[in-house]
């Protein structure tokens, strides 16, 4: 018996033709890889973190290689929400993929202003970045306490009818408490994990490799941490979880979904292999066919814990 497995998923009422979403920060505004394949090959794209006004980001170097990963400290360099709405969004809309705006701010009013502007557009979803480790104001400072996470979520919830995904930082004592706090304030979904705070030092110059001294760790090195946190959060909340953190292969993505993720995001792996998201989709179809599973959504949260 041969059948064509269905790898499409529905998250917060949005239909994704496959569960692979380009992670915010790794894929710009979807224009940089189109020489290789169309954006429509992806289930969705979470755009580069966007703020009310344009940001120039941190002083380079902004990246360092680590065993099975990278550290980055870009610092939310972006052209600002108006440029996103007027220039990038119309171009993204011509592509057949789910478009998620990722928003960040220093103060709550920033988040509200950006969310209100986006609410008046045809963007599909809003991902709330309360977990960027690379900016001095805002960013992860919102995401490390239940009160902070709840207050930003509440403010944005009141500013938009779009589905709101809250992106969580792993740099907390108990991520499930934060997840429950944002769920209580009306978040439609949570995505996790953002990067783990890290540091590398050049032993000859005794200088940190990143000019920002510290930065966010991503890549396969963080994958087991991400799987664990997705599993914990998926068991703690009722809203769908979008899993990310070090996914490089179809097996990784399947594992993440079995841990409880309804969809996945990929970032760092794309730097190494731009075709990685496509290979993940192909690998998922093959796995489903082998396992005689009709739909990828049937594997979500099916891990059988000891």
């Amino acid at each position: 018996m041969s059948f064509k497995p269905d790898i499409s998923v529905d998250v917060c009422g949005k239909h994704f033709k496959n569960p692979v979403i380009a992670a915010s920060g790794a894929y710009g505004f979807g224009e940089d890889y189109t020489d290789l394949y169309p954006l429509s090959a992806l289930g969705g794209i979470s755009c580069k973190g966007t703020t009310l006004n344009k940001k120039d980001g941190n002083i380079p170097p902004r990246i360092a290689e680590t065993p099975s990963g990278i550290l980055n400290s870009v610092g939310l360099q972006n052209p600002g929400v108006d440029r996103f709405i007027n220039y990038y969004l119309p171009r993204l809309r011509t592509q057949d993929t789910v478009v998620i705006a990722n928003i960040a701010g220093a103060v709550i009013d920033d988040y509200i202003a950006v969310a209100e502007k986006l609410d008046a557009t045809d963007v599909d979803m809003i991902e709330l970045n309360i977990s960027c480790p690379n900016v001095k104001q805002g960013g992860a400072t919102w995401g490390v306490t239940c009160e902070g996470a709840a207050s930003v979520t509440r403010a944005v919830r009141n500013a938009t009818k779009k589905p709101v995904i809250v992106k969580l930082t792993p740099n907390v004592t108990n991520i499930t408490e934060i997840a429950k706090a944002v769920e209580a304030e009306g978040a439609d979904s949570v995505s996790l994990i953002n990067t783990l705070l890290g540091m590398r030092i050049d032993i000859r110059t005794r200088r940190p490799i990143l000019h920002n001294n510290v930065g966010g760790l991503s890549g396969p090195a963080v994958f087991p941490v991400a799987v664990r946190m997705v599993w914990q959060v998926a068991n703690a909340v009722k809203i769908p979880v979008i899993g990310m953190g070090g996914i490089a292969t179809a097996e990784d993505a399947i594992e993440m979904m079995m841990a409880g993720a309804s969809a996945v995001q990929m970032g760092t792996a794309i730097f190494n292999d731009p075709y990685a998201p496509i290979k993940v989709c192909e690998g998922m179809e093959k796995f489903l066919a082998e396992q005689k599973i009709e739909k990828i959504s049937d594997i979500v949260g099916t891990v059988k814990p000891w």
């Binding site: 710009g28 020489d35 170097p61 290689e65």
Partner: protein, 257 residues
């Protein structure tokens, strides 16, 4: 402009000096689309980040591309284990190259420092004896590609920091001497930042157009991750751009070094 991501056969490999390698790939589609001064992202097996390496020379007729790089760490060391007949996984060609031929008539000067020497070679090939190549190295044993520049017909001036061959000292004096001769349409440079600063200052003083190729730690190499930032002054405003996609070549007039 378009780029490709594929594995291409290595048709030639040479050691140019200690830890410096020259690879030639058979990659017709890349060669066809490549412009002088662009770069490639090479996959180093077992490492997350690809290594950005500038294109040394392209033979469009034979569909080949030559890459010259120095082993600087474990990643480039891994790449250097590849041999003739192996496949090299590259994303190429990337970025914006040099504005050649220069917009004005006249001769050109290329200034290369150390491993910044390779990406200027095809400018010498384009200009022949209307190109002066000023090439700076630490010492005689670090000199690379001087014969290739001569073979291209360029007037070659080699400088070494220790005076072990050629002009003793930096490229500054030979550059000043060449500029004094006049009729220079443009200066193109690639090398360490202090050298680029000296080139841009000399060019500005002489009222000559200049372009420099920058180096920065990169992530994706295609413009998506905004890791490789550099600053330019454009229309009187400071702008943070991407070395990989907006560069790696910038005009000396606007780049902030």
């Amino acid at each position: 402009m378009s780029f490709f991501c594929d594995s291409y056969p290595i048709v030639d490999k040479k050691a140019l000096g200690e830890g410096i390698y020259s690879y030639t790939l058979k990659c017709p589609e890349v060669a066809e689309n490549a412009h002088i001064g662009q770069f490639v992202q090479i996959k180093a097996e077992g490492y997350m980040l690809r290594r950005p390496i500038s294109i040394c020379s392209v033979d469009k007729e034979n569909g080949t591309m030559r890459l010259v790089f120095e082993v600087r760490g474990k990643g480039t060391d891994k790449i250097s284990e590849l041999n003739k007949g192996d496949l090299m996984d590259v994303i190429a060609p990337l970025g914006n190259g040099f504005t050649v031929p220069a917009k004005k008539d006249g001769r050109v000067i290329v200034v290369g420092g150390g491993i910044g020497t390779p990406p200027l070679l095809d400018i010498a090939k384009m200009y022949g004896d209307r190109c002066t190549a000023i090439l700076g190295f630490r010492s005689f044993d670090k000199v690379i590609l001087d014969k290739d520049y001569s073979l291209a017909g360029a007037n070659v001036i080699v400088c070494t920091d220790d005076g072990s061959t050629g002009v003793h000292g930096t490229i500054a004096q030979p550059l000043a001497d060449e500029l004094a001769k006049g009729d220079v349409a443009a200066i193109y440079a690639c090398g360490p930042t202090p050298m680029l600063k000296a080139v841009v200052a000399a060019a500005k003083q002489a009222g000559v157009y200049s372009e420099v190729s920058l180096e920065q730690r990169m992530g994706c190499g295609v413009g998506a991750c905004v890791v490789c930032a550099c600053t330019v002054i454009r229309d009187g405003e400071e702008k943070v751009l991407r070395v990989c996609k907006d560069g790696p070549v910038f005009s000396g007039e606007e780049v902030v070094l």
